[in-house]
Structure formats: C-alpha cells, structure tokens
Symmetry: D3
Subunit: 272 residues, 6 copies
C-alpha cells in the first residue's frame, strides 16, 4: 500500500518557460530509459521477488522513490509549457522567425492533447510501453538490467543538462544525476553479492552437461580483421576459464532442408 | 557488407514435430530478449561506434554470429510445425481431447499467417519492435545492456531446455547456452576495461559540480522496515565512497503550484 | 452494407496551403480521440449490440456519419499540403529562415511517405491503433466512453480552431464542433435512459453479496491534507447511499509471502 | 513524494494455484482498463491539474490507492502461478489430457519470461501502453474518461468473478468491485459539480459563433430504418435545447478536387 | 459521405457456436491482412488520389464494399461466441477435458473485454494498427500493395476454409474467396494500365542520370551456391534490359570512419 | 551462417553534416518501407521457404545484400549528425533564427538517446516493428509484397534525392535507386514464373467449388457515378474470364440478429 506527500522530493521549478526543453525532458519521463520505466520495473521486480527480503525491500524502496521522480519531471514540464506560443504559425512566421522556430520545434500534442501538461510519452511522442521493462524472477539478471537502466538514464540526464542554461532545470537534473549515481552503485553492490552466490554466468545452476561446452569460451571472428581479438586474447574470463580466439568461424551445422507441407496450407508447391 | 553460407552454424533439427514447442521457441527468436534483439542491437552499436575499433569489431563479430542464430531458431521452428494439426477443432475435441489440447495451445498465426513457418514475433504473437534495443553512443552503458540481454536470453533458453525432452531441440539449446556464456563473459570483460578508463558511474566525465552531491551515495528507506539497509550499510561503494543509509526520506522540494493557462487552451477554469 | 456519395458532408477547403496546420490536424484524424477512433468504435459497438435496436441503430447512424468526417479531414489535409516546401533545408535556411521554420515544423512523412496526402496517424506520426477504442457488450459502459470521446475530440477541435485564422479550416472545424455537441448530447441522453434501467453503478445486476460492501462508498485520504474531502463529504452518492470520508486509509491485508518456485525455473534461490 | 507500507491494502491470497486464472487476471492488471491504466491516468491528471485543489487532491488520493491495487493483483497472480505445469507438453498429452489443456491455455510467457511472476501485460500478453490513458487539462473531459475506466474495469472484474469459484480470488475481486463502485460514484459527483460550472457540452466557453449552430442538435439518420429516432425525438437535450431528427442526411459539401503536386514528389501523373 | 443498409452484403451465419473458430476468424477481421486493413487502406488511397478519377472511384467503390466485409465477419464472430464456456477452468478440467481444451484455446478477451463480441484485433489479440497500410500518392506503387493485400488475405481465407466444416462459415468464406478473386484481378488490371503509362520500375520519371546505372540490372550472389542464377540468367528484364549475374559481389565502398563527437554528448571517448 | 566485410558495399559519405537530412533518411532505414524491412522480410521468407531452392537462394542473396544497405544508411546518418547543434535553444533563437530552425527540425532523440548515431526508427521516431513484414509460406503472395516493398522504397529514395543537393548523399541514393530497380525487376521475373505455374489468382489450387463463383468477377459500384467502370468494363481479366460491371450493388444477406448472452457476461440486458 502506498501513501502520498504533497511536497516534491526535490525542487522542480524552471527559471522560465521553454516549450522546446519541455519536449526534450519528455524523454526522461516517458522514454525507454525514463523514470516511468524504472518506477514500473522496480515495482514489478519487487512485487515478484520470492524470498530474498533485502533485495525485495531495496527494489520497493527505490521504486517508491522513482514514482516521486516521475512526479518531479511531470511538474517541471507543465511549468515549462506555461506561456507556450499557440497562435497561427503563419502569423509567427511573418512577424518573428525565431518564434516560428520554437513553434516548429515544440511538440504539437503538448497543446492539442495534454493542454500544456506533461504526457506519458517520450520526446518524439511515442507512448510509454511495458516493452521497456523486465521482471524475470532471476534477480541477478534483473539487477543487470537495473544498472543498465540507471546508466542509460543518467547518460540522458547529462546530455539534457548540457542543452540548457536554465538554473532551475539544471538544479533538478543535478539531483537526478546524483540519485542515478546512488542507484547505479547500489545495484552494482547487489550484483557483486549475487554473483558470489549464484556465479558469474546467468542463470547459475544450469547443469554443466546441458551446455555444448567446447564453444562456451570461444570468440569467433565473423568479420574480416582481428581487432576484436584484443578484448579477450590471452585473458582469463571472469568465471576462471580461458578465452579462446578463433580467427575463422566453424560451420558445425548442415544446410537445412524443410519439407513441403500438406495441401491445405496453400503454400507454393515445391518446384525447382 | 555481409555474406551468407548455406550451412547453419550448428545443428537445428528436432526429433519430431511439436507445435507447442514451436510456439514457445518464438520467445527466443522474436521476443524482447530473443536473437532478433541481440542481432539488431549489436549491429547498430557496431555501426554507430566512433573510434574504439576493438569494441566495434567485437560488436560486429557477435552481431554477425547472431544473424546465424536467428537463422537456426527459425529453421528449428519451421520443422517443429511440420504436420501441425489444422483440422476443425470440434472434430478433434470429439475424437481426441489430447489433440484438441495441442490445437488449443498452438499459435493460430503459425497456420493462418505464416503457413507453418517461423514468425518475427514472440511466444504470444507480439511483433518484434526496436523498442527492445538500444545504441546510445556510450559503449560502457551499452555493454551493460548487452550483458543484460545475454543474461535474460540465457535464462529463457535454460527454461525452454527444461520444457522439452526432444534431443534435437536440446542439442541446439545447449549450443545457445554455451554461446550465451561466451557472450556474457566477453561483454563483462569489455565492461571491466571500460570501467577502468571511464569510471564506474556512467557516464564518466560529468563535472562533479553538476551533481547535487550530498544525495549521490544515500539509500533512502521509502518502505517501512529496514531490510534494504543490509545491502549497503557500512559498505564502500564501487567508486570508493561510503554509502549512507537514511531510515526516513527527506522532503527537499515544495508543494508544486501550476499556473492556469490562457483561455484558448480550454482547460477547466481554476476554481475551488 | 455501406454506400458512398461523392460529395462531402460539409465543406473542407482551406483558404491556402499550410503544412504546419496539416500536421496538427492529423491529431483529430488519426490520434487517440480523432475521427478514426469514433468511426471504428461506433461501428464495432453497433455490430456487437445484442438486441437493443434503437441504440444499435443510433450507433450505426453515428458511425456512418463519422466515416464521412474522416473523409472531410483527410481531404482538408491533402489540400493544406499542396505546395509544401520540400527542397534542401540548407538552401531554405540560408535564404529564408521563416521558410526553414516551416520545413522544420512540418511532418517529414507527409512528403516522404504519403506524397502530400493525409496519413492514418496522429500529429506526431504515431500510427492509429485499435487500443484507442472499446466495445464491451455493456452499452452503458460504452456510452460513457462515447461521451468521453466526443468531449476529448471537441476539446481538440476547439484548440485547433484557436491555432489558425484560415477561414476555410475554421468553417470545417465549426461544423465538427457542432456535430460533437450533438453527439455528446445524444450519448448523454442514452446514458440517462440506461441508468434508469440498469442502475448508476456499472455493471448493474452484480449481486450485492459479491461486493465487500463496507468499502463501497468510502473515500480514503491517501495524500496528506484533506482537500478531496470537499467533493464527497456529507453528500449522498448518485446511487442514494451516503459517502463516507476516512482521513486515514486502513490496512486490511497482510504482508505478502511468495513461495520459491521449483529449480527448473532458474529464479534466484531464496536467501537473505 | 510517495511512501510504501509492506502490508497490502486488502487480502490477495488464492485458495490454490490456477495458471489459467493467472492469465485471465492479467487483463485487470495490465490491460486497457486494468489497474495500471487508472493508476497512471490519475497520477498524470493529478500532477497536471492547474489550480482546482480539491480535484487535484482527489485524483492523487485515488491514484495512490490504485498503485496498491496493482500491487494486490500482481501478488495474487504470482501465487496463482506457483506450481504451474511446465514439463514437456507431449508428456502431459499422453498421460493427462486435462493437464495438457491447462498447459495449452496458460500464458507461456509466465514461465519463460517472468519466471512465474506477474507481467505488466494483458491476458493476451499485449504490453501495457500509455495509449490507454489521457490527461487533457480539461478536468471535466477527463472525469468522463475516469468514470468510463471505472465502469469498464468493474465490468471486467464482475466477469472474472463469475469465472472462478476460488474463495480467495473472489474475496479480492469483491473488494475491487466495491472500490470501483466508490470510484465511479466520486467521479460522477465531480462531473455533476463541474457540469454546473462549465456547462454540459465540453469544452464549455467555446464562443457560440464558432459553431455551425444549425447542426448542433440534429440527429441524422445515416442507416435505413428509424429506430434511433426514439432516443432523441421530441426530447430536450441536457443543455436545454430541442433535439431535431432528420430522416435523410443532407449533403452540405462538394465533391473534393485535389490538385496534382509537383513532379519531385513522384506521385502518379494525373490522367484519365 | 456514406450511408448504411441494415442488411449484410452476404450471409454470415454459422451453423453452431465455436469459440475457437471465432478466435481464428479475428485474423481476417483485424489482422495485418484482414478486412480492416483493406477497408482503411483503400479509403485513404481513394481520398488522397489527385486526379485519376477512375482509379479514385475504383478505390472508393472497393473500400466501401470492404466496410461491409468487416461488418459480415464481425457479425459472424459474435454468433460463434454465443454460448462460449466461461465457467471455472478447474471445473471443466475435472469433468470434461475436451471442454477444457476449448476454454484453453479460446481468446480470453472475447469473454473479459468484449462481452462475446468481435474485437478490432487479430487471432492473437494484437490491436489493429495503421502500420499495416499505405497510401503513398503513387497509385502504381499502391496498386502493387493492394494486389498483395488481396493475395495474402485470400490465402488466409482459404486456410480458414480448410479448418472448419461448418457450412455457414464456409459459405461466407466462399463469398470472400470470390470477392478477393475479383479484387486481385481488378488491381492487376489497373497495374497493367499504369505500367503502360508510368513504366515498369516505380517510380517512373526518375531521371536516368540519378541512378548508378551499372548496378541497376545486376543480381549479386551473396550466398554460396548459384541456385538464384536460374531466375534471371540470360533473361531480359521486363523493362527491356538484360539481367547480369555476378557470382561474387563487389565491394565498391570503403571501411567507414566515424569521427568522435564533442564532449557534451558523453559518448565513450575514442580509444584503442 | 553469415560473415561480415569491413568495407561498405558502396560509398556512404556526405559532403557535410546535416541533421535535418539525418532525420529524413531514418525513413528509409527504419520506416515501414526502409531497409530494415526488406532485410528482415527476405531473411524470413528465405529461411521459411520449403523446397523451391532457386527462390530460397534468391531471397537469401537479396536479404544478405540488404543487411549491407542498412549498414550504409546507418553510416551515412551517423556522419550527417556530426556537429549537430545541441546547445540551449533560447541561445540559438536569440542569435541565429536559422540555426534555431535546424534545432527545431532535427530529431531530439538523435542527441538524447542515440548520441549522434543512427536509430532503428523512422523519420518521426516510431520504432521499427515486424508488423511491417510478411512471410506467408506462399511464395507468389510474398513476391507480390516484395515488389511492393521495392516500389515504395524506391519512391521514398527518389523523393529524398530531390530534397538534398549534397553530392555524397545523392551518390548513395543513386546507388539505392539502381539496386531497387534490379530488385523490382527480379521479383517481377519470379512472379511471372510463379504465375505460370500457380495461376494468377493467389492462392492457386483452391477448389473451384469453394468459391461463390457468380461474384468472383464482378465489380460493384458502391459509389455514385461510374468512373470505375472504365477500368474493367468489356475487358478480359488476366485469368481469362470476363469482368462484369454492376452499377448497383446487390444485398445478398440478411439483417443480422444477435442473441442476448447469459447473465454472467454482464452485458446490457436486451430492451427496446
């Protein structure tokens, strides 16, 4: 069960309206790596965790914080849209090309659909979709996704920071940079613990006999040139076995032969 | 530029048709973490890499291999569909409930849409979408996604392995398990190198003054109970700084106040 | 069965081309609340209606009209695109920043994909999807959706009206405003009738014993502060029962405990 | 800012596992009218509300409750999946057709993708998308969507109630039925107030001269037969004006004529 | 403007309910190649046609017929769902495995979401999307899509015909087979005319100097083996020029070199 | 199995950066008719081909070439983005409206999400989806799709050619124009062969008695006016039978009557 406080976790007030920046900030609200993604992903991972109380709790702590981050960015966007220019474009073009450029660059749905409010969408207006997230039941696999999400998310926040000089926006983004630092580090910490218990290769506990083991540590060179060799050659993989580099990939399979199917499928008859 | 060999990289031949298993294998072909995802993701990351030749090459080597994995699984699925039962369900129900169960559980689009061939879709028939992948320009951020993809992918392969006793399917899945082992380990190797150069927290090089630094290593307890404390308390984060645990989250922001917008937006008038 | 007249239901001719306005009008053609949505929604509701002839007829009357509205807006957009500037952007930028702003703001797919014709998409180029509509078999539930669709749709038309001074566009939008007025009112009329027969709370006829009745008229205060109290406090709900306001939500459930699953799922082992 | 309690708002514990019912319950978790939709919709409407404190508060109260409903249903689904049959289908078919039917009917992604946990998807595995929701800035328009969402949602809960005899599931569904009753009634209450202030037809305040007023209260008969006449004929619309019924729709527009576009668009040349 | 007749264009009445067949028929209603696709595609192509009256008319004639086909299939599906088994699955499993198989195989959304009515979705429940259709402004290009759509659609109808023995369903499918025959043939007729005027290669009128003409009639052999040679070798292409077969593809480009971007993008620094 | 060469198939180097053109070129990379579509479509058709070695080989040859086309366009886009203006929009607006126009018109995700690299998306940022492609098992049906894809694709390339004066971009587009010429012609060649063997109407081999044959060659006039008559009247269809034109469509079906469903579906009760 959840509760709501009226105050924001941190300041989210721009110095002045800026509808272009409002559009850009949608990316970290409703984009693939935006706050809606981490909020929903951590919620589902937390709810689905079976045992493993400390991770379950950590996931739900962080998820709950992220709902508040969605709130902050949505609030910021609504303020950036105050005073957005909506008049006839041809009027703007005639009198003020700079204004026309702003109108051309802003998101038309901010005016037509959301009435100058934030939308659950990315900077190109794509709807948020749960395709962006995962909850697999394997916490180590999911923690790897979590550190990815915080890395991609912080990367986008840093880029947005460089795109504006508005002190209010920068203050909020600076807060998000810091929280993403913490979140990256805590998931890395969890990964370290989990790798110690479950092994490096996910999922652990797959019986060794399942694997075609002679190809489990081989890098095949499928491109011309051998630059990639440097990454693995002569090195011990993190699971303690040696990497092998093969300059030429082997064909181990056959040319596939598919049988024709029965007439009632109406495929093209086999011929040649 | 790419070239194609007629032979498969590895065997992909089931012992016998099994339309239920054909449906399930679609997940690792066209699902979120299927081979289409890693193939397309590594291609884009490789093509977009700026400098960093050894990683670019490693990405394109692996991407090129993955095209061949899509090929193997597609081939497997087509064979599993040979002889799929397509007749009238009511006939099956009357004479053979077990057959009816198979018909109920198979993917109807395998018969109606793809003519007993593989589809670029997951096990529930959702189309593959590039929402599943990322290429951010930050190779460390992307390598974290890559190790995630190989972890989630290998997890699904392991689960599928347990769901069948067909030796041919298991042989192919055992090969994929092994290749996913290698791919996890090579991306982990790249991450290790990149973290040494770029720092633990992605993206590196963000000026320190950007961050609201007093919250960059704090775990806030947003749930009741303090199980999550164990993950970080008294520990040094991987970037060398100490974690701080706060049992009660602070409000640092204000109650947001949004201004009414002009009449031409036709929002509800402010009232109370 | 349907028939087509060559004439439009109403005028749809702009005074002059305007590719920015063409992009914006896509919202009421192929957006969530555009004419494609009401057309398809009323068609499906009408076709699926079981008995209830006067509503079935009303739905199909209105649906059939809406096909003609899609036709009008599509025609308008095609004309607004005549003479759209397609040349090299750098040329425009050098010679005419105002023209460049128009080129930057127009939808590139109008030129590249649809050859200066209308697209079944919204103002950001998102494809129309049947996710936007509903036909539930419960006509009262659906009529509530219908009055929503006409409200959201008319809101967007009003906003677009304010964004242009083109008399031709305004004439068509004024017609749509009026038709949306009628459609709102007729669905409200149907709702009134249906509520009298089926009850206020949808679906009617749910046996009373199904409901956990002591929470069926309670507003819980899940936020700090009690502003929301004013909406319900001391009032009789439209079904004749009293609203109850509780300033503090109750926990009625337990802390959930999920069991570990069998090994063959390869979830993280339970630990703590 | 949000906080989380470990206890659920209400019981969510089934009597016994049932993977088919787990699949069905996904509809009210991640479907068009599921709890994820109302949770996200009310959050955005609340955050975007400009002034109108009591509605803003009511929206955020209810949104916060809905996060807890998502939690309850996710928890229920995870328990229903405990002990789901995952073995080889052919084995089940041979020994136990009934078991095979369950395997055929359950969602394969529950095993392969989410490790026997709940997914942010509907009962057919479609991802949740923000296409399902709206926040328009016009609170009356949005309240109409909200009462729709609670009507469609309660309808689905009632249908699911009939599909199971599990007392634990029914207890939770009974709670949801009751809460949906309250939510329908509170939105209806808000609509009543808002209609008094803003007018029946949304958006209010559209200048009368904008509308082509002679068609604003006319029902056109676009189908053969005149059943629909009964809904409006001789009645006063809720805005106080008389409905007019026209048995034959008028053509008010022209046959559209589109001009050929310039050669560089490569459309088919005009000919005939 | 459109008008509606109450009668269906053709019979759409099954001999008896069959919820499995109802699910399957959704494919030709709301699937990629279903009637919603051709209806919407021909409408947009017709509305967007600039000049070319006879094709515009043919497109709108056929589009209008297709609305009636959507109506027929929707009507059929609603009848197939009458009497669908909705009770608790465990009850069915115990008493009647055959019934359980039907319940497992039917679409749960037919009961939960659409109340035993047709849905604007395919046989796996994917929403219809305008991604399925095209209107490019080039009528010859679009006619090729149209003949494709009628070919794929008729193929699916033929497969469905084989999957049932219900005389009522077969009668309707037989009608659709025949209409798809006509539609294929009429689009082929239009293509013939258009190719005579516009040329074989679409779009015609591209200045010859634009093309890198030495590769415009060359088949490169990118696979091992030379089976493909037979399709073109020694043949004159339909535009009158000779095909050339090259057994080994040429590299004509360079190894691409991308420059590092400025620091404010936070990409990985170039290194090696 | 596939192999990769480091060199591109053809030059892909622009004369100078141009972020607007980068956005536009996304259409032929990740749009409905872009290179990702043909690459994935031909791969699946090739892999799914049962027998029919020369077509299977031709499909895989062409598919393999298309992977290289995706590579070329991705490389081009990355170079066009070098030096894209990312600074604060308000700064640009003040000092340089032309620059502001470029910033308004470029794709914000090119900066925020992909770090100035190409994205697997179209020119409006829509993700690529496998909804764009088909592999039906009927090679003739699929070849018709293939010639459509090459026609639509070449049309878009030609339009883009006209939108730029950059010689490097034009050189690459000229190459693609030529390859699309070849691909159109080779699929047309295959169609000719297949039509000779399988018949004109797809799928061939449908027993004649299945069709309601008296409507299989009739054009019904569903619009007023008889322009469409010219396309077919007095002509022999390509399958050798005469077209029939009917100026007035016949009703052959009945007014549908749907039965009410059982109470547990909670549909609106039948009334009137």
């Amino acid at each position: 069960m959840f509760m709501h406080s009226k105050e924001l976790q941190y300041h989210a007030k721009p110095d002045r309206p800026d509808p272009i920046m409002a559009r850009r900030l949608q990316e970290i609200l409703g984009g693939q790596w935006g706050e809606m993604s981490v909020m929903n992903m951590y919620l589902f991972q937390g709810w689905n965790a079976r045992g493993n109380e400390k991770y379950k709790d950590l996931l739900l702590d962080t998820a709950t914080e992220e709902i508040g981050h969605v709130e902050m960015i949505a609030t910021m966007i609504s303020q950036l849209l105050e005073g957005a220019p909506l008049e006839a474009q041809e009027k703007a073009v005639d009198s003020d090309p700079a204004l026309a450029a702003v109108m051309g660059g802003m998101n038309p749905q901010h005016a037509i659909v959301s009435g100058l409010g934030a939308a659950p969408r990315d900077s190109n207006g794509n709807p948020w979709t749960s395709n962006y997230i995962v909850s697999s039941g394997n916490i180590l696999a999911d923690m790897r996704m979590n550190v990815t999400a915080e890395s991609q998310g912080r990367l986008q926040v840093a880029r947005l920071y460089e795109m504006t000089e508005d002190k209010g926006i920068r203050d909020m983004l600076g807060f998000l940079l810091a929280r993403d630092t913490q979140h990256q580090l805590q998931w890395i910490e969890a990964i370290k613990e989990l790798e110690e218990k479950e092994g490096i290769v996910v999922p652990g506990q797959v019986p060794e006999k399942y694997e075609v083991s002679d190809v489990s540590h081989v890098l095949y060179n499928f491109s011309e040139g051998e630059h990639s060799k440097k990454v693995v050659d002569g090195k011990t993989a993190k699971d303690g076995k040696e990497f092998i580099y093969k300059a030429k990939p082997e064909v181990m399979g056959e040319k596939p032969v598919l049988k024709p199917v029965t007439k009632d499928v109406y495929n093209t008859s086999a011929m040649d």
